[in-house]
């Protein structure tokens, strides 16, 4: 939820205004900066491609085993930079650039990398006065350092993979003393000032001194009525990367835009600056709630990644086009190229070049740096019912009953801000929630759970324990003059805890202990909203950039704030259980590494078809940069969905990782049974499909947790050589084996689904009809259709006994769906553990099995012999798609001997159903078809 309440108050205060303005329909763009309005972006963007003013001073080169350093000299102002190059394990190159001698330290982002990345030795292959050639391992991976102008080229054999500073856009605003301290009014109107810098350099090479002139907004910047005092002056950085042969780039979420990034020439760059955007617009590069500065490039030969580790406001320009083959005169024509330019307001240049070459390699490489998706409790992958707000305990009980009465499963019910005592988080409204433990016990009796919201803005109220403790411990973010920073949010005047402070985070985590958070129980989990942070009366609805987090300005750490809030909250949940239970925390804001702490959602969307469609590319983009646990508010947050849209959204949401319905306070109720029996049945069916697939979802998250591969994948990730897939973002894969193409058009009578894979086959999961790969398939749809296909060659485990909640299904048997490839083979995995503790990790208590169908034999074998977990689940049915009729089927299980298994064969659909093999899911067995 976001600022409509504020709007409401405001509008009530200014009635006349509200009448003339009418209803605010969409984002008020004037609340947010364009590049032009952001002084550093505008300065940096004014710098055009050309010869770089930097040269590498080769005589300063130092090479230790795994680290190369080299000074860079700005020919214009003689400021020296220090370049550091590392070869990291797993085909990653790290490039760091900082001032050689900054007058004060520049911010380097902590807590995002999981470790100091392990390095590998580098060696100089060749060196002359023009440059140095370094070996990056492999047979022929080389890094060329060109001295004048400074440029880095990464080559593989004769092929240029990537160039750095080839367009000469390296720009590093060195920290400087303010010369004219009397003139404090350095506003944008004041215009250009006299050049008072670096007089000592004037004599030598003074032809281009442009960057040295104080430009507007260097020492103070005003946006609307907000003044950024900029006591440290200009500090921005910029660097360009050229990707020859690349036409498709992805990533850098969060933006409400297509999966494939667009050319930003002539428009604004993509912006990364975590903001609470009221009623965001689709298809534009404006910043949203979270930021992950990771960009992926892909062509049929190679996938690479760029990770720009910087938490300040960042803009990314993307420019693609055709360039002449450099150095070629044979007229072989032009090759596509994409140029990417990063601009950040402060900090240093610290970039990780992940060289792939396959998509899966890039995901592993990125995971090796920032970690993998937290392995969520199984129940959090089930259905969540939320609304701003469920009014009181009776309301919660009534909704809970409603699900049972209509036989729709759900696992979590959510309470938004109104459940608190006056927006004081960790408390309960005394009138509406007088007995929270009774309520939670009632849910626990149904094996269900609850989430309450805990936002990071703390009501300034001396009688509120949380506030007075934070204040007395000095844990609040400070304003530039050293006092506690205060801003407006839901509770009115609020303080913002400094989550960058590890002590503060430890204290915050301790607040989730059962004896601290009164009324909490082990089935209560947490939602962190407004953690951009959102400040209603701040510039761009966030914190002043000159606010202070210890020694650092908010400017330096802004995009990290949300990550830290979720980190501390997840830590609190782990601690309250003595380190035993997995946490579940949903966050609206995020940064690189946030995947380690829980789930995110796409924020305050709207009940519109466009927003339903957009949920797919938004979550796909997040998956590409490590954040797999993503979802959008089902039904749309703002406005009221029509029944068709609501049903379609449930159908789509059931096949997205985080599946939660949520609604704005001002919208009519929309619990699934309020739209007539037909629609109730449609929604029930969508939710039941989700529950049946929970074993598969759980397996995918286990894999994501282990390997960093995304759960929700663009088609190109699995079919990297099929160019048709490169721009598809209305269909996607869950793992490798399920292809989903939800219906997202009003009144749709059919959809065209692209099924990839030359020589592969796909099976409609509902009709078991088989389709060939590498073609566009038009399928007619009705309101009950959710187009989902299982890949031929895969085995998927489902639990078809849908119960009230996922916990109730714990011991239920599996049905195996064996979809044969044209060669008659299939393979899959099964993962089972207790669903909620860390024992899978600490005690190796889990089952991980390989299921393989080959040579008419289906077998289950142990993938992890050193782990064990007792399960009551068994195999009740095996459905083989694309099968032939056997004469007999024999089951052999370890310790169980041989037995005959009954079967049914449908010669029309070629579906073979094996009846009740009745073998425990945790043991070895084979089913032989004769």
């Amino acid at each position: 939820d976001i600022i409509p309440f504020f709007h409401r108050m405001y509008l009530q205060l200014t009635l006349v205004l509200s009448i003339s303005l009418g209803i605010i329909q969409a984002v008020d763009r004037s609340n947010f900066k364009t590049c032009e309005q952001s002084a550093f972006c505008s300065r940096q963007r004014a710098l055009r491609p050309g010869q770089s003013s930097y040269r590498a001073l080769l005589d300063t080169l130092e090479l230790s085993d795994s680290r190369l350093t080299l000074q860079l000299l700005n020919n214009n102002n003689k400021v020296r930079l220090l370049l550091e190059l590392y070869r990291l394990q797993g085909n990653i190159t790290r490039v760091k650039i900082n001032e050689l001698k900054p007058i004060k330290p520049r911010y380097e982002v902590p807590d995002v990398l999981i470790t100091d990345p392990p390095t590998e030795p580098m060696s100089v292959v060749a060196q002359d006065e023009r440059g140095v050639v370094l070996s990056l391992g492999g047979v022929d991976r080389r890094l060329y350092v060109n001295a004048q102008p400074f440029r880095l080229d990464i080559m593989e054999g004769p092929k240029l993979v990537l160039s750095i500073n080839s367009r000469g856009l390296l720009a590093f605003e060195q920290l400087r003393m303010r010369k004219d301290t009397n003139d404090q009014k350095d506003t944008e109107e004041a215009g250009k000032k006299e050049d008072t810098e670096k007089i000592e350099d004037k004599a030598s090479e003074g032809e281009e001194q442009e960057m040295e002139v104080d430009q507007p907004g260097m020492w103070e910047e005003t946006f609307k009525s907000h003044v950024d005092s900029k006591p440290n002056g200009p500090s921005s950085i910029s660097l360009d990367f050229s990707l020859p042969g690349v036409e498709h780039v992805y990533g850098i979420p969060e933006h409400a835009d297509s999966l494939r990034l667009k050319n930003t020439d002539g428009g604004d760059p993509y912006r990364l600056y975590n903001l609470d955007v009221f009623q965001y617009e689709l298809f534009n590069p404006m910043a949203l709630y979270g930021a992950v500065p990771v960009l992926l490039s892909h062509n049929t030969h190679r996938t690479t990644g760029l990770f720009w580790l910087n938490a300040a406001e960042t803009w990314v320009d993307i420019s693609s086009g055709q360039v002449g083959l450099c150095g070629r005169t044979d007229g072989s024509g032009e090759v596509p190229q994409t140029d990417v330019r990063w601009i950040s307001e402060s900090g240093i240049i610290d970039v990780f070049i992940m060289l792939g070459p396959r998509p899966a390699d890039v995901f592993s490489q990125y995971a090796s740096l920032t970690g993998t998706q937290a392995f969520p409790p199984l129940s959090s992958l089930a259905y969540h019912q939320s609304r701003w707000n469920y009014n009181d305990q009776e309301d919660v009980a009534a909704v809970d009953r409603g699900f049972d009465e209509h036989d729709i499963p759900y696992d979590f019910i959510w309470l938004d801000i109104e459940h608190t005592d006056g927006k004081r988080y960790f408390t309960w409204d005394k009138n509406n929630f007088p007995q929270p433990k009774d309520m939670l016990q009632g849910l626990m009796d149904k094996r269900r759970k609850m989430v309450t919201i805990v936002d990071p803005h703390i009501k300034v109220d001396s009688s509120y324990k949380i506030h007075s403790e934070i204040r007395s411990r000095g844990y609040y973010v400070k304003n530039k003059d050293g006092g506690d920073y205060e801003g407006w949010c839901w509770p009115g005047n609020a303080g913002y805890p400094d989550f960058t402070n590890p002590e503060m985070r430890t204290w915050w985590a301790s607040m989730f202990a059962y004896d601290q958070y009164e009324g909490s129980m082990e089935n209560l989990y947490t939602w962190n909203d407004m953690n951009e942070p959102s400040v209603f009366n701040g510039p761009e609805v966030t914190m002043l950039k000159d606010a202070l987090h210890g020694p650092w300005e908010h400017r330096d750490v802004h995009n990290l704030y949300g990550l830290y809030v979720q980190m501390a909250t997840a830590e609190g949940q782990i601690r309250r259980s003595g380190g035993l239970e997995r946490p579940f925390v949903l966050s609206r804001s995020f940064f690189a590494g946030s995947q380690r702490y829980g789930a995110v959602w796409t924020g305050d969307n709207s009940a519109e078809w466009g927003h339903l469609k957009m949920s797919i590319p938004m979550c796909l983009s997040l998956g590409l940069v490590g954040i797999s646990f993503c979802g959008a508010d089902v039904g749309g947050f703002f406005k009221t969905p029509g029944t068709e849209l609501l049903v379609r959204w449930y159908q789509a949401g059931a096949y997205q990782p985080f599946f939660r319905a949520h609604a704005h306070l001002d919208t009519p109720r929309r619990e699934p049974w309020l739209f007539g029996p037909d629609n109730t049945a449609l929604i029930r069916e969508a939710v039941r499909q989700r529950y049946a697939l929970l074993p598969y979802w759980y397996l995918q998250f286990y894999q994501a947790h282990r390997t960093g591969q995304p759960v929700m994948r663009p088609l190109w990730v699995e079919y990297p050589e099929d160019v048709t897939t490169f721009t598809i973002d209305d269909g996607y894969l869950i793992g490798r084996d399920l292809l989903v193409h939800p219906v997202t058009d009003e009144g749709s009578r059919g959809v065209t689904v692209y099924l990839p894979g030359n020589g592969e086959v796909w099976y409609d999961v509902h009709t078991f009809q088989r389709h060939d790969g590498a073609l566009h398939l038009h399928i007619p749809v009705t309101m009950s259709t959710i187009p989902v296909f299982q890949r031929g060659g895969s085995i998927i485990c489902r639990k078809n006994r849908i119960r009230r909640s996922s916990s109730c299904m714990e011991n239920d048997p599996f049905t195996l769906y064996v979809a044969l490839d044209p060669q008659g083979n299939a393979e899959g995995e099964l993962y089972v553990d207790d669903g909620h503790t860390f024992k899978h990790e600490t005690d190796r208590q889990f089952i991980h099995r390989r299921l393989r169908f080959t040579s008419n034999t289906l077998s289950s074998s142990d993938l992890s012999p050193d782990s064990q977990f007792p399960t009551a689940s068994w195999v009740e049915k095996v459905v083989i798609l694309g099968a032939q009729e056997p004469k007999a089927v024999t089951l052999t299980s370890s310790g169980g001997g041989e037995s005959s298994v009954e079967f049914e064969f449908d010669p029309v659909t070629l579906v073979l159903t094996l009846r009740k093999p009745d073998v425990n899911a945790g043991v070895d067995w084979t089913l032989q078809l004769q």
């Binding site: 509008l11 001002d666 068994w874």
Partner: protein
């Protein structure tokens, strides 16, 4: 799984009837009514007839029948249902998915036979509670129903009274209509001579005024002559006249000799007699110049009277307001000119009063005044009769509206009409005025919010009087207009028992009233209808 197999295929149902215990064997989860379809030793045919399977596949934890009928006692079929006998309470069907899910659904615990859940048999307790609550409810219903009969009786009486009243009013109305017509005629007859007499009076006054005016003019002319005749030779000469440039006919700033001669009718000088014609052409300018007072009005008194009437409706004559007494009564503003004229004779206030105090119209003579008084009385009588008619008309309308309301099949809701009921919560006082409106007022200051105006009965088709709908209340920010649904339940008292706002701006109110109490079945019947045993 093996555990499942070990468990009895058959459940033993204890059936109490006529005090004797009978054990009837049937597969788990099958109700007595379907027992005959599950015969051991015989193959089982799915209840939808779709297929026949060996009996050992009934309740074998694998779903063979599309309709789920082969697994009444396991969770194997997605669409199955399980029957719990719940001896001591009421039997129930639960979805198969609730078998062995760790949650106790059947009070006799039979749904959790293999989940490890520890369920207590609560049927007896539930049965007791239900009986108690049914008893209580029956009590309430009985008393409520009696009250309802009274309400119906009263409503009937009230309705009859209203009907009688309406008839009375209607006949009164008829009488009044006739009276109004008669008085209108009387009024018109009385107004005719009044008008004539007043016109007469006015005309006489006009003539008299004209006479006075002419005399005054003559006097002024003589004064002017004396003044213009500087040398007092009994003539006004060109030279003498020329010394008064303000008399310049073309007002170009200079009074030439030719112009002056023109004014004197071509003569060099004029005597008092000849000056009469000169005076008529110069007096306008002369008087303007020489007098600080405005010139004598040229309007006729009749016009003045009309102006006087109209200037109350407009502000074309602000100076009149300035000159009037402050205690002038505001409610005269709507009066029409004639009335004004009658009530306030011109003598009291006319514009000329300012300059011409002596020129006020004399009071009517006795005869005229007599006619005016008579006409006024006729008008008053007529107005009064008309007012009375209007009042009766209003009463008829409101009665007809009330009679026309749908107060239920026996008008049992009629007693709620024009009543209001309040409920106080921690923040607000909610007010329900049935058939009128619902509102909400903050307890601690702030204005009342309209939560909806009476819309219609909105219960389900078979019980339309169970719900009232109020809509078109105050609008919501980005939302609909507020509306309230009032759910009516049977109670001895008429009270608002709860309010809530399930959706923003959509309120729900619970309201008890005897008017919805249904005739209670006998207690025996009530209990018997709910329990199998």
């Amino acid at each position: 799984m093996s555990l499942v197999k070990l468990l009895l295929l058959m459940s033993l149902a204890l059936v109490m009837r006529a005090g004797a215990a009978v054990e009837i064997q049937r597969p788990r989860g099958v109700p007595l009514s379907k027992r005959q379809f599950y015969e051991e030793e015989k193959p089982f045919t799915c209840l939808d007839g779709s297929r026949t399977i060996p009996f050992d596949r009934v309740n074998d934890d694998y779903c063979d029948c599309k309709d789920g009928s082969d697994e009444p006692g396991t969770a194997a079929c997605p669409n199955g249902s399980f029957h719990c006998t719940n001896a001591g309470f009421r039997p129930a069907f639960i979805p198969s998915s609730r078998i062995n899910d760790g949650i106790c659904d059947c009070c006799d615990t039979t749904d959790e036979y293999n989940s490890g859940a520890t369920c207590q048999n609560t049927c007896r307790e539930l049965g007791r509670k239900e009986r108690e609550s049914l008893q209580k409810m029956a009590e309430v219903t009985r008393e409520g129903f009696m009250l309802k009969q009274q309400l119906i009786h009263e409503a009937k009486k009230g309705q009859e009274e209203k009907q009688v009243k309406l008839t009375e009013f209607q006949s009164t109305k008829k009488g009044l209509e006739e009276k109004v017509e008669a008085l209108r005629t009387v009024k018109e007859i009385a107004e005719e001579p009044e008008k004539e007499a007043k016109e007469r009076h006015l005309k006489a006054w006009e003539e008299q005024k004209e006479l006075i005016r002419m005399e005054k003019d003559k006097a002024r002319m003589a004064e002017a002559f004396l003044e213009l005749d500087d040398d007092a030779d009994g003539y006004v000469s060109v030279a003498e006249l020329q010394s008064h440039p303000e008399l310049d006919p073309d007002s170009d700033g200079s009074l030439t000799e030719t112009e002056t001669q023109g004014l004197l009718g071509g003569a060099d000088k004029v005597d008092t007699t000849a000056f009469e014609s000169v005076w008529s052409s110069i007096k306008g300018k002369y008087l303007l110049e020489s007098q600080s007072d405005p010139p004598a009005p040229v309007e006729t008194p009749q016009e003045e009277a009309r102006d006087l009437g109209s200037d109350h409706d407009s502000d074309h004559y602000p100076e009149d307001y300035a000159g009037e007494d402050e205690d002038e009564e505001e409610d005269e503003e709507d009066d029409d000119p004639e009335e004004e004229e009658d009530k306030a004779p011109p003598t009291v206030r006319t514009p000329e009063k300012k300059e011409d105090d002596e020129m006020s119209m004399p009071p009517y003579d006795a005869e005229t005044q007599g006619l005016v008084d008579a006409a006024q009385k006729a008008r008053d009588d007529f107005d009064e009769a008309e007012r009375a008619l209007r009042e009766v008309d209003d009463q008829i309308k409101s009665l007809e509206k009330e009679i026309g309301f749908d107060f239920g099949p026996s008008a049992e809701f009629a007693y709620l009409y024009s009543q209001c009921y309040e409920l106080s919560t921690s923040e607000y006082v909610y007010r329900l005025c049935p058939f009128n409106r619902v509102s909400q007022k903050p307890k601690f200051g702030g204005s009342e919010t309209n939560l909806g105006l009476w819309g219609q009965w909105a219960g389900p088709e078979d019980n339309i009087y169970a719900v009232m709908k109020y809509d078109h209340g105050t609008g919501c920010w980005q939302g609909p207009n507020r509306s309230t649904t009032v759910k009516l339940t049977c109670g001895k008292e008429t009270v608002v028992t709860s309010t809530s706002e399930p959706s923003r701006c959509e309120y729900l109110m619970e309201f008890t009233t005897p008017a919805v109490c249904q005739e209670p079945p006998s207690l025996e019947e009530a209990l018997h209808g709910h329990t199998e045993l």
